[in-house]
Symmetry: C2
């Protein structure tokens, strides 16, 4: 099976499991808003990376850590809901569907995002298969990578640097907005697999590098991607005068940068035995069309 | 020292400690926005309740759990920032100062709130004095009480029931929006004090009851409070046709209800030896003017 098909099968697996973990409750509108955005599709890259990293570090069965993988998708979904808000990127369409605030209103979208974040940590804290020590490390790594020293900082920088910024700023934005979260997912997989320090470091580095490459490819797709395949408007970054890789390095320069990061990612995991899928995944990230 | 002075001293103590835990970093605007709202004053009731509950359950020194107490104030502050947003309660003033989005803009306020939430969990996960088992329970109780089965659900119900709602709805809103978080704080204090199951239950019940009484008093103050003392406009609930206790039970009826809950709170902790401060605190909650 080629990597594209493999990732599709994995995404379908995550989608099935997601159903088991979608919370139910009242008020109905809040839970509907969370479910709507959780089920709005996506590549499920972050939970897949948790599981594949764990496997690469030698974990045989991932049945006991599915909830933790799903929790990363909860965090990702919260960040998308808030990013799409009128005060942020003001997007009305994502993956071909109206965004959360268009369907449920801004107030419910803000709360759905807040709730998805807290529920991600609640979900991890409820796991009974993994030791408390490890779960606490998972929470530490996840909150760090997605919080004020990671994703939230990157999103803030992204908004602040609309219309201006330097080469350093674009590095900061890409590393923080996207790469640190993806790095966390790979590191979490390592922690859950009882990886050695060296293995954990390898997977953490791998995650950081593919995360940067992933965001560069996102910027490229926004510039030259297919609107129908992407399910959203393209060239929105340019319209908003966002600081992107193509703006700073041009399309070909950006592609070269992305390839460089993918090679660095692949080198990082040379010490791992089961690294084949992660290698192919790294290469696929910069060849994807969606 | 009377309870009002005692609480003031405790709030000053929390304010001092808060300074040690306010995170620094870039982008500056994000960290400034968080700091601005964290330092905008307030009663610091939630961290005080963590510490006082721990003391009531027999914990001698609270030096090793200050970070956890402070984390509850981070969560409280995030909820206030998001509540004040134009799409939510649209408040321009809180505690006599312009709200976060007025000073830093809506995007930065959304992100400051998101970041304060994740940093609360990061802070708890970094504690090295308490056992991982207990920290994980703290995270579980806190995420549950402030998330989709607690505060976030209550806030959603509050917004959905503007202009209409039943007696049941007002109970749901008060319990979820306010009481469950306060309950969590008291339960967290118990957990951190190695309380027995019976003691933990007592403090948890106490927290739930004073939480409801606290919100009833909030509703009463919105109706008949002193605008200058409160540092915000009064009668905003009425203007927005919010579902409040006074609307359903009248002022005197609401006062009677609040007294009832305070008595229930006090009965709940009869089994605790060091209960004097918590008893006085419960009574003070419905006599406060701010």
């Amino acid at each position: 099976m080629d990597i594209k098909s493999y990732l599709k099968v994995q995404a379908e697996f995550i989608n099935e499991k997601l159903d088991d973990f979608i919370p139910k409750g009242v008020p109905k509108e809040l839970f509907d808003a969370m479910e709507y955005s959780l089920k709005a599709g996506g590549k499920r890259l972050r939970p897949i990376l948790v599981l594949e990293s764990a496997k690469a570090a030698g974990k045989k069965s991932v049945d006991d850590i599915l909830d933790i993988a799903i929790a990363t998708e909860f965090i990702h979904t919260y960040s998308l809901i808030h990013d799409d808000l009128p005060a942020m990127d003001n997007d009305e369409l994502r993956r071909g569907k109206p965004t959360c605030h268009i369907v449920f209103g801004e107030a419910m979208a803000i709360l759905a995002g807040d709730g998805l974040q807290s529920y991600a940590f609640e979900l991890i804290s409820k796991n009974r298969a993994v030791s408390p020590e490890k779960l606490l490390r998972v929470i530490n790594v996840l909150s760090h990578g997605t919080g004020i020293y990671g994703m939230v900082a990157g999103q803030a920088a992204d908004i602040l640097h609309e219309k201006e910024g330097s080469f350093n700023d674009i590095e900061f934005i890409h590393i923080h907005k996207t790469a640190k979260f993806i790095q966390s997912c790979c590191q979490i997989g390592a922690i859950l697999a009882n990886a050695t320090q060296e293995q954990e470091r390898a997977l953490s580095d791998y995650g950081l590098y593919i995360g940067i490459a992933f965001q560069i490819q996102d910027d490229i797709l926004d510039e030259i991607g297919d609107e129908v395949k992407l399910g959203k408007k393209v060239r929105k970054d340019r319209e908003r005068e966002k600081l992107t890789y193509p703006l700073v390095y041009g399309i070909e320069g950006s592609r070269a940068k992305a390839r460089e990061y993918v090679e660095k990612a692949i080198s990082s995991i040379e010490i791992l035995e089961n690294r084949k899928i992660l290698e192919e995944l790294a290469r696929f990230i910069i060849n994807r069309e969606v």
